[in-house]
């Protein structure tokens, strides 16, 4: 059996975190290729429903990343909104049988390429420990 290779979906804000991920590239900082990034304008755009959709479809982890609290947000306060929503959703995830550790909210600035790479490395390691998304246990059949 091949080693479990987690798939992570990342919702990254355009101004800080997506730029931070770009900087990791520009600086050639290596991290495991497990994340697929979806760009949104603001972390405040991330509807908890998107996260649930991703888990439902088998994502082993979801990363929401935005501008640092308190004042970096390009849209004044979207990061606070993301913070509230993700915090609440983490509490609910347990009810759906998904470990809350699979969902992470991180603040990454445009100059923190290294931090972005470290987060991904760490997340991959943690999710490997957790194993595959319980919702897709045995679900590999529908393909």
């Amino acid at each position: 059996m091949t080693e479990f290779d987690p798939k992570i979906v990342g919702f990254l804000c355009n101004w800080c975190s997506y730029a931070g991920a770009d900087l990791a590239g520009v600086s050639r900082i290596q991290y495991p290729p497990n994340i697929r990034i979806v760009r949104v304008m603001c972390s405040g755009r991330v509807d908890p429903a998107f996260i649930l959709e991703a888990f439902k479809s088998g994502a082993d982890g979801v990363l929401v990343a935005g501008c640092h609290l308190p004042a970096d947000c390009h849209y004044i306060s979207g990061n606070f909104k993301a913070y509230r929503r993700v915090t609440l959703l983490k509490k609910l995830l347990q009810q759906f049988g998904i470990e809350p550790e699979r969902l992470r909210l991180e603040w990454v600035s445009a100059s923190e390429g290294d931090r972005f790479a470290t987060i991904i490395k760490d997340m991959v390691k943690e999710i490997k420990k957790l194993g595959p998304n319980p919702l897709r246990a045995g679900g590999k059949t529908s393909g």
Binding site: K7, N14, D22, A24, R28, S142
Partner: protein
């Protein structure tokens, strides 16, 4: 051309000030040439890690402005260049520019960076202040604008590797320097500053001891993309230091060196560096700042200073450090200083020298070529009432070259300089700018998606790791993809032609590029679509370089799989893309300025000079505001004469409508289209206008301290000034107490102007009555910038300055009719009695009582202190977050006349960028409410940070598209899913997110 004027401006210097001025001018309908001596724009701010007092990441907030300057079609960037000759006069100059060769063809270089990867030469990285190496072919920093490489010919060994490897064939070893002549109407100087060379302060050991660094080097050390990747390490051996000392005023406030002035920003940046350092180092790090006075005089700076002490435990020692020694074994440093009269020595792991600002390099030559005057420190010569004008008509100045200053002041002054530069050539608006013509947009609404995919090799940046042909084959099989191909460089000019051909030939209606990042390249491809008649929003990018090939260099197969996933996910999104219209609104070319003090009048005049009608509303019965009570200045100008002349200019200007004794009753509408009701006496009047400038000033605090109002000998500084001016002054002894009603628990911040005001009055007393004794009791003397000269002059003339702290505040009593002040003498450690004839209290400017009311009407925020709060403390100091509303002067924060005038000119420029347009086109990525689904719960209205959503007559939410910035937080929260965040719709995001998971569950 009317009277031979030219509608173009030359901006010298591409730091944050120059960039701001260039953007404002281009946005107002004029051509701009922005030149910089460096290979890229960005200046010093691009080297900073964070910015005070919000600790924003410097690059995060600067880079978008740089990119905008690089893309603005009416800004021409000329890098590696300087002015060599100037002729002509204001309105019609001719300037000669010499451009140093890059040895790279700027047209061809696409910034892929392969050359720098392969270059075998190691050269000193000046951007990181020599703390690490770079290659001989280089860019200054990763986000450089323009993103064009340059060869350092002094280091280049001519091996030819870069030329061989560059697929764009951009390397030209034989390229020569070039000269060009430009015709322009006015000039803005924003050449910035150079840091003081601390080698000149030999006693601090810089250059001899490795662990003594400058503040700007430390800024690079703190930065995640700096020499040590954001770790704080000692240059000597790479260990983490436990104790860091910051030494203030290195090269500033130093009469021995001839630099008597204060560099204005160092106290704050050192506090910031100390805070950030403590955040970086997880183990206990001690930071100590050695200072003379902490000059935290800006907006909410004292609160930041207090937090540094109380929350972060930064230690402050009031002492001028004598010298620094080194322990050769440990490379630790010994700091020798005197505290409370006792010599002390303390050991530190690192010493950071807070180096001051010096005039820019080659300033004499620049001044000579342009014919402008310099002051005694070789900064640009300016006056209080003309802080932006150089000595030569048509040439203006902003930023640190005018006087040492921080970023927001530079930005505000840059906008101010733009107003002045535009006023010279206002008649030429719109004449030299290029307006591109596009073919009519094709209606694709009834077409099935037909997607074309273009995958970039980026030389070997992508293709060397990701199997590009395999990705292309994968793309071909995806639904609705009718065409896919690979390109060596998808961004190159010939590929743009190819993309257009394919759109035409195959009737494509969606285009996808798999290449680098949309943050830099999306606008280029959108432009290509538009040139071919496709709506620009029918485009998506898959980032398979920065977020794939570059970060998975050792796993080509998995990188290829990821690239396929990424392309598949944007195809899934692209199938759902819809053409978007950019909302357009008309603009009423009329301004409303609230407040008739020097700021409001200046803004009104500048707008009128640009040709706009202005309504100037003042609630008092006459114009002038605080300036009515100012009789003399630190300099030689006569403020009352200046006031009379400004009022005359305002009254005589037929475009300015002055409304005295008038209040604002109601404000409705949005940017471009406001309707305001004003009331004077019993009469109400309605004004239609496009913008609002808030210049409502502030109020002098009325003290309750120190027997004010009880004993007639106790005055405020303003009352003392009036007596001095009117010949009513007669006193043998005068005591002044600083910070009465400020820097206390109720008002923690500094009022910025009172120290200079006290010194101004003290000097006047010494002038009128040299034998009068003057005592100034202070916490810190905050005579920043060139005002420091007057502090020194006052001390030289015998004014006694005695410091007090919160534990030893002065005590004032009255016994048997005698006024008695007890002042704590820190060195003698005893209370010293003084019997003054006059006790002058330095009181702060406090917010107007009706600020709250006005703020509610305008839907703009206030600070905790009650002053108006701008959109961004650093880079948008004159804008509110709500479009079309601006601020300046004391309404923003206490400040001296010259800064109010700079801001007022700047506010006029910001307003003119709107008023100069017939219509405003805003970003098409806006939210949309489905009226059938909305139940009018109002959640989105609460959440919207821009007040862009309101309820219509039927109680349903409606988005005012011109105000919407497209963040999408409303869409994320609507319980009825009635809000569509266009271009990032729920369906599009979910489709994109799920497409990458294919093969996990749904295969």
């Amino acid at each position: 051309m009317a009277d031979g004027k030219i509608g173009a401006v030359l901006v010298v210097g591409g730091g944050v000030a120059g960039v701001q001025a260039a953007l404002d001018i281009a946005d107002s309908g004029f051509k701009v040439y922005l030149i910089d001596r460096a290979p890229s724009i960005g200046g010093v701010m691009a080297q900073l890690d964070k910015t005070f007092p919000t600790n924003d990441c410097s690059m995060c907030i600067l880079a978008p402005k740089l990119v905008e300057a690089g893309r603005q079609p009416n800004i021409t960037l000329i890098t590696n260049a300087e002015v060599t000759e100037l002729s002509g006069k204001a309105g019609n100059f001719e300037v000669r520019i010499r451009k140093q060769s890059r040895y790279i063809n700027e047209e061809k270089c696409n910034g892929c960076g392969l050359c720098a990867q392969k270059c075998p030469v190691e050269a000193v990285d000046a951007y990181n202040r020599g703390l690490n190496d770079r290659s001989a072919i280089y860019i200054e920093y990763p986000q450089a604008v323009p993103l064009k490489y340059m060869i350092d010919r002094e280091k280049c060994i001519g091996c030819g590797i870069c030329q061989e490897i560059c697929r764009a064939e951009a390397v030209e070893y034989e390229q020569e320097d070039t000269e060009t002549t430009l015709k322009i109407g006015s000039i803005i100087l924003a050449p910035g500053f150079t840091s003081f060379d601390p080698r000149l302060k030999t006693e601090y050991g810089y250059g001899r001891f490795q662990n003594v660094v400058t503040s700007i080097e430390f800024e690079r050390i703190l930065n995640a993309s700096g020499p040590y990747g954001g770790l704080i390490l000692r240059p000597s051996e790479g260990e983490i230091p436990r104790k860091i000392a910051f030494i203030q005023c290195v090269g500033s406030r130093d009469a021995q060196l001839g630099n008597n002035y204060c560099s204005a920003a160092c106290c704050m940046y050192s506090i910031k560096e100390a805070i950030i350092a403590k955040e970086h180092v997880p183990i206990e790090l001690e930071c100590t700042i050695f200072y003379m006075d902490i000059r935290a005089y800006g907006k909410e700076f004292d609160a930041y200073y207090n937090r540094a002490m109380e929350e972060h435990g930064v230690r402050f020692v009031r002492s001028r450090v004598a010298d620094v020694g080194e322990d050769p074994l440990t490379s630790n440093l010994f700091v020798h200083y005197v505290e409370d009269g006792e010599p002390k020595t303390e050991e530190f792991g690192m010493v950071v020298l807070s180096v001051g600002m010096r005039p820019p390099e080659n300033v004499e030559k620049l001044a000579e070529v342009l014919g402008i005057g310099l002051n005694r420190y070789e900064f640009c010569q300016t006056d209080t009432f003309s802080p932006i004008e150089t000595s030569k008509p048509g040439i203006f100045v902003c930023g640190a070259f005018a006087a040492p200053k921080d970023i927001p002041e530079s930005v505000a002054q840059a906008s101010g300089a733009a107003a002045k530069a535009i006023a010279v050539i206002a008649s030429e608006r719109g004449k030299l700018i290029t307006v591109k013509e596009y073919p009519p947009e094709r209606d694709v609404s009834r077409e099935e998606p037909r997607i074309g995919v273009f995958i970039c090799h980026c030389g070997i940046n992508i293709g060397g790791i990701v199997n590009v042909p395999e990705v292309v084959e994968h793309a071909k099989k995806l639904p609705d993809v009718v065409y896919a191909e690979e390109n060596l460089y998808t961004c190159s000019q010939d590929t743009q032609v190819r993309i257009r051909e394919k759109i035409r030939e195959l009737n494509l209606n969606r285009v996808i590029v798999g290449a680098c990042t949309p943050r830099t390249h999306e606008p280029l491809f959108r432009e290509t679509l538009r040139e071919q008649g496709l709506n620009t929003y029918l485009f998506e990018m898959a980032n398979i370089r920065d977020q794939c090939s570059w970060v998975h260099m050792h796993e080509p197969e998995r990188a290829t799989e990821k690239a396929k996933d990424l392309v598949r996910s944007v195809v899934a999104k692209a199938r759902l893309l819809e053409p978007l219209k950019k909302p357009v609104t008309s603009v009423i070319p009329v301004g409303l300025v609230i407040g008739g003090g020097v700021s409001g009048m200046t803004t009104a005049l500048e707008l009128a000079r640009q040709g706009f009608e202005v309504h100037l509303v003042e609630r008092a019965k006459e114009l002038g505001g605080h300036l009515r009570h100012i009789y003399y200045l630190l300099g030689s100008e006569n403020p009352q004469e200046m006031l009379r002349s400004i009022i005359e200019d305002v009254s005589e200007n037929e475009r300015i409508h002055v409304h005295l004794n008038t209040a604002i009753v109601d404000v409705k509408g949005y940017v471009g289209n406001f309707t305001t009701i004003i009331r004077s006496g019993g009469n109400e009047k309605q004004i239609e206008h496009g913008i609002i400038v808030v210049a409502t000033g502030a109020t002098e605090y009325e003290p309750t301290e120190y027997l004010y109002g009880i004993d007639s000998r106790v005055l405020t500084q303003r009352e003392l000034e009036e007596r001095l001016a009117k010949g009513q002054f007669n006193a043998k002894t005068v005591v002044m107490i600083q910070c009465v009603g400020s820097r206390n628990e109720e008002r923690p911040n500094c009022s910025r102007i009172c120290c200079s005001q006290a010194i101004k009055n003290a000097l006047k007393i010494k002038e009128l009555s040299p034998e009068t004794e003057v005592y100034v009791l202070y916490k810190d003397i905050r005579t920043y910038g060139f005002k420091e000269d007057y502090y020194r002059e006052a001390a030289d003339k015998g004014v006694l300055f005695i410091r007090y702290d919160d534990e030893h505040k002065p005590r004032v009593t009255r016994e048997n009719g005698k006024l008695m002040v007890l002042a704590w003498a820190p060195i003698l450690k005893t209370w010293v009695p003084v019997e003054p004839d006059i006790l002058a209290l330095s009181v702060p400017a406090v917010p107007n009582a009706n600020n709250e009311h006005l703020a509610r009407m305008l839907k703009v925020p206030l600070t905790k202190d009650g002053f108006f709060l701008e959109a961004h403390m650093k880079l948008r100091p004159l804008d509110f977050a709500t479009d079309g509303i601006f601020l300046c002067g004391l309404a923003h924060w206490p400040k001296p006349i010259e800064e109010s005038i700079s801001q007022a000119c700047g506010a006029a420029t910001r307003a003119a960028t709107i008023l100069s347009k017939k219509t405003l086109e805003v970003e098409g990525i806006v939210a949309h409410v489905d009226e059938d689904l909305c139940v009018g719960c109002g959640l989105c209205i609460t959440l919207c940070p821009y007040s862009a959503i309101e309820k219509d007559e039927t109680g349903i939410a409606r988005v005012q598209e011109v105000l919407c910035k497209g963040c999408g937080t409303c869409g994320a929260s609507c319980p009825k899913r009635a809000i569509t965040m266009q271009q990032f719709t729920d369906a599009q995001i979910v489709a994109q997110g799920l497409a990458v998971l294919r093969g996990v569950v749904h295969g």
